[in-house]
Symmetry: C2
């Protein structure tokens, strides 16, 4: 076999996922290990090398069969310089020349990419966006991650920090964000923001079926907010609908600016299924201009947690 395969790795604060893709981009094998991030950089680096060996063993191939490795990592980082500047979930990872070190240790070409970008590229090559040439992806989790693919290429921007869709300003002077801005989209429409906004509304004196839980100090998550809404709780229903409204507003601005073929929603909040997608689409149609019909479709990601691995493997091939 020629060097037709690529390896994709999705490095997270809790787990590291890896996969081997064939020449057509299809996932041959996968493997997942714990990150053990608290044990520092050198420990995690050794685990990354072990993961590569395990992937090769599972796939029954050698390094000669591998064209390169794509490595999706939490940012901020520089794709072009191959350096992780500072990964908040990976203690001790400050100004790490990860591409060079990983390439030297494996003997293979390495491409370093922001994890949200890698996932967006994965959905582009093999997921919800496999039939389009442009998409914007929003991963709705603790925060909102993003990635932009235009004409089949990741748009990284002048300082490689483009695609921070969660930090578009949605509400001037709005909720403060740890990033230093106010009114960021992720303060209104991430999974965490749903629960936070409900708790704030309860503390402001609104009645809610979850009040007792919260007063007992129990954490509330987006899933419980939706469950309460569906059980007839008016406050939870309002918070959920506002979340969909804010997401639709974000999609609207993306359509006006970029007119991508697709906006792909991913992450924990999409577990709500059509209870999320339908109201977002309805608000979007109602809020958008009437000068031209919508060409931007809003849909869910299809690759689940494998998007980052598949995207990283594809990026290893594209460079």
């Amino acid at each position: 076999m020629a060097a037709n395969c690529t390896i994709g790795i999705d490095l997270g604060g809790t787990n590291i996922k890896g996969g081997v893709c064939d020449a057509a981009g299809g996932l041959l094998v996968t493997h997942e290990i714990e990150t053990q991030a608290e044990r520092g950089f050198e420990h995690v680096f050794a685990r990354l090398l072990g993961l590569v060996d395990e992937l090769l063993r599972k796939a029954g191939i050698g390094k000669a069969d591998v064209a390169g490795i794509g490595l999706g990592t939490p940012g901020p980082l520089s794709h072009s310089r191959g350096i992780v500047y500072n990964a908040p979930n990976l203690p001790g990872w400050v100004n790490v020349p990860l591409r060079e070190r990983f390439s030297r240790a494996t003997g293979l070409p390495v491409v370093l990419e922001n994890d949200a970008n890698a996932a967006a590229y994965g959905e582009y090559v093999a997921g919800a966006g496999k039939d389009v040439s442009s998409l914007v992806m929003l991963t709705l989790g603790t925060g909102i991650g993003g990635g932009i693919v235009l004409d089949g290429r990741l748009w990284r921007g002048a300082d490689e920090s483009a695609g921070e869709i969660g930090h578009m300003v949605l509400v001037p002077g709005g909720r403060t964000c740890p990033c230093g801005q106010a009114g960021c989209l992720e303060r209104y429409a991430s999974a965490n923001a749903v629960a936070e906004r409900l708790v704030e509304a309860i503390r402001a004196g609104n009645a809610c079926s979850l009040t007792a839980d919260i007063e007992r100090g129990r954490a509330v998550d987006a899933r419980q907010v939706l469950r309460a809404a569906d059980a007839g709780d008016a406050l939870a229903a309002r918070i959920w609908d506002e979340t969909c409204y804010y997401l639709a507003l974000g999609c609207l601005s993306l359509e006006r600016l970029l007119s991508p073929e697709l906006i792909v929603l991913a992450g924990g909040l999409t577990n709500a299924g059509r209870r999320l997608l339908e109201p977002v689409q309805t608000h979007f149609q109602k809020l958008r201009w009437h000068l031209m019909p919508a060409t931007t479709r809003i849909t869910f990601a299809t690759l689940g947690t494998e998007a980052g691995t598949i995207g990283a493997a594809a990026l290893a091939r594209s460079q």
Copy 2:
């Protein structure tokens, strides 16, 4: 001389500007005529042909010296299909196959482009952006036009309606826009919006040195608002500063999404010079996140009203 020149035309509702550029993109000659749009499509079309003849005469060249014509036109239109769908300022221009007709009549290749895109491309090739590879341009006039250049190419989007920066939603549920949306950037930061917001504030009972003028039915424009602010009028000063704040917020979201090297401001409002640019830059620095230093610079366009002509001529060459 080989066919080294290109012609650029900027078709507006009031005037048509044209120019001949040499192989290096330098403007050799220009000529401007009235559009006489009220006399309908065939009349304006004949005037376009007359303008081409006059440009050739002024430049002392023949059609054999011209590689192509770039034609910047108010939209919505399709660059790829060469059709003007409906130009509000050009009565009777509905679904006009302008590229084909103009090419047949002149015997030259024609490229059709949205006028705001052509101006953005002009600033990219020969103006404020001549040393960068990515920029976003905002033309602050009656409304806010926009154009996006990424890696040296205009980003037109899936339906060729990208770059509508004036219709990003800035304020959820905000001022209504003729486009059908609410809260569009251009309802807060166009030249017209400055005057409208002052008049609304006066009608809401705020004291202002321009109240007598407005009660006498005199029209107020952005220039007068700024003059009143500089003469010590508190309301005018607040409206002007809010305008700069809203523009800075728009620039902030553009930086988060696209990280362009440059945001170029153009149009009537930039006649205010540093009274506009400095507060916009100050608000931008204060509002933006602290995770990374700014790489997006905000600056003024340098080509003035010739940006559209130069950009159209350059697009004729790039196709």
